[in-house]
């Protein structure tokens, strides 16, 4: 089966490659670009460990082909800290709240939490839990994750001066 040429932006850098159509986006990120910060957990669209942003919205990169990302903008966990190494506010909040034990779910949790905070700048606990329904952590019981997301969201809205919660998805 013929390979297809794709051109996409990943973490601010443009890449052009030939890929087999069946190559999953997460495979392309990890195996072709070496961006192993994005993890494969369940590989069945359940756990959310592979969450990245496509054109600014969270998606599960194990449930998308790389060819579908042709012409689009992908952001992974490796592209959210500042160039000088300063952590993204959501990464910093996960660090400060110790929102992890083994850490395997953390990249996906952080990417989904940034998406959540963009839509809900000051989320209550229920909003955080509902919006993390597609991300599974098998260690923590989620308590510190919820704390971290609330703190990170506040920090993000403070930093960007975002307006009050626009309440997109109920």
């Amino acid at each position: 089966m013929a390979k297809k040429p794709i051109t996409l932006t990943v973490d601010g850098v443009s890449y052009s490659d030939d890929v087999e159509p069946r190559t999953l986006l997460v495979q392309y990120l990890r195996e072709q670009l070496g961006k192993t910060g994005t993890l494969v957990g369940c590989d069945t669209t359940n756990c959310g460990a592979c969450t990245v942003h496509l054109d600014g919205r969270s998606v599960k990169s194990c449930t998308m082909f790389a060819v579908q990302a042709d012409g689009h903008d992908v952001t992974t966990i490796e592209g959210i800290a500042s160039e000088d190494g300063t952590l993204h506010p959501m990464q910093q909040a996960f660090h400060e709240s110790h929102a992890l034990q083994c850490g395997f779910c953390t990249p996906g949790m952080i990417m989904q939490s940034i998406d959540l905070a963009t839509e809900h700048p000051d989320p209550d606990e229920a909003t955080v839990r509902e919006n993390l329904e597609g991300n599974l952590c098998r260690c923590t019981g989620y308590q510190n994750i919820v704390k971290a997301v609330q703190a990170g969201a506040k920090e993000m809205s403070g930093r960007t001066g975002a307006p009050a919660d626009e309440a997109g998805v109920a």
């Binding site: 089966m1 013929a2 297809k4 087999e20 159509p21 069946r22 999953l24 495979q27 590989d43 069945t44 669209t45 359940n46 959310g48 969450t51 496509l54 919205r57 969270s58 998606v59 599960k60 449930t63 998308m64 082909f65 060819v67 579908q68 042709d70 989904q112 998406d115 959540l116 919006n131 329904e133 597609g134 991300n135 997109g168 998805v169 109920a170």
Partner: protein
Amino acid sequence: MIPTAFDYEAPETVEDAVRLLAEGGDDVKVLAGGQSLIPVLKLRLAGPELIVDLGRIDGLRGIREDADDLVIGAMTPHHEVASSGLVREHAALLAEAASTVADPQVRHRGTFGGALVHADPAGDLPAPALALGASFEIAGPGGTRTVPAAEFFVDLFTTAVGEDEILTAVRVPKHTGWGAAYEKFVRVSQQWSIVAVAATVRLDGSSIAEVRLGLTNMGSTPVRPEAAEQALIGVSPVAEAVEAAVAGVADGTTPPEDLNGTADYRRHLARVLARRAVLRAAGA
């Protein structure tokens, strides 16, 4: 898990997509948002020779008004349906149901039309679409045709869309200002509905003037319990009256039996969820 190898085409027009389907023969799959198809391919439950991706056809995405209808492009993601001001105003039931599909990441990729054509009996869009009397615009080699909801859902995972056709848009009669609720029973978040009930209600003063109901996973296709709808007309939205009116909501249904519950258990759920859905839709 990696799918078997396939050829991939991403046409930019509906005409090209239909032509590719015709040329591809029996072993072609249409890719919309991929949130059901890609897991199936990864499990190698399907291994098509060719995949035709509709993601590059701009005209298939978006929500617009057309006189007394809302027209929702087949490739509009669930998230857009759930958060659309037009949908919330004119077909709130669809926004309610779309906001319960899977999880946020899946709602960003999964599409309204894809979920309807997939026609999973436990999927959340078919019953609301049936309840609202939607019609389905389908393009094929002979041009386009429109199919009403009552004829669209044919069987388990089977719709009126032929192998050489694609769904382009769904036309939904406006139900402006109607209250709506989608009551979905699941044991864990993200799960498919064990049973769900869709209800949308127009009140006249303190009683129900008009109501539409739809049942999810109470048979191989969605069910519209019209006798229960009739029984609700003129009823005050209070628990005892609504409970009595929907007592027969599961009559004549053939729900599945599986590890999540027996058919009788599902009929019980349908009655309970119908009461909750009607009351919530009525703002009670």
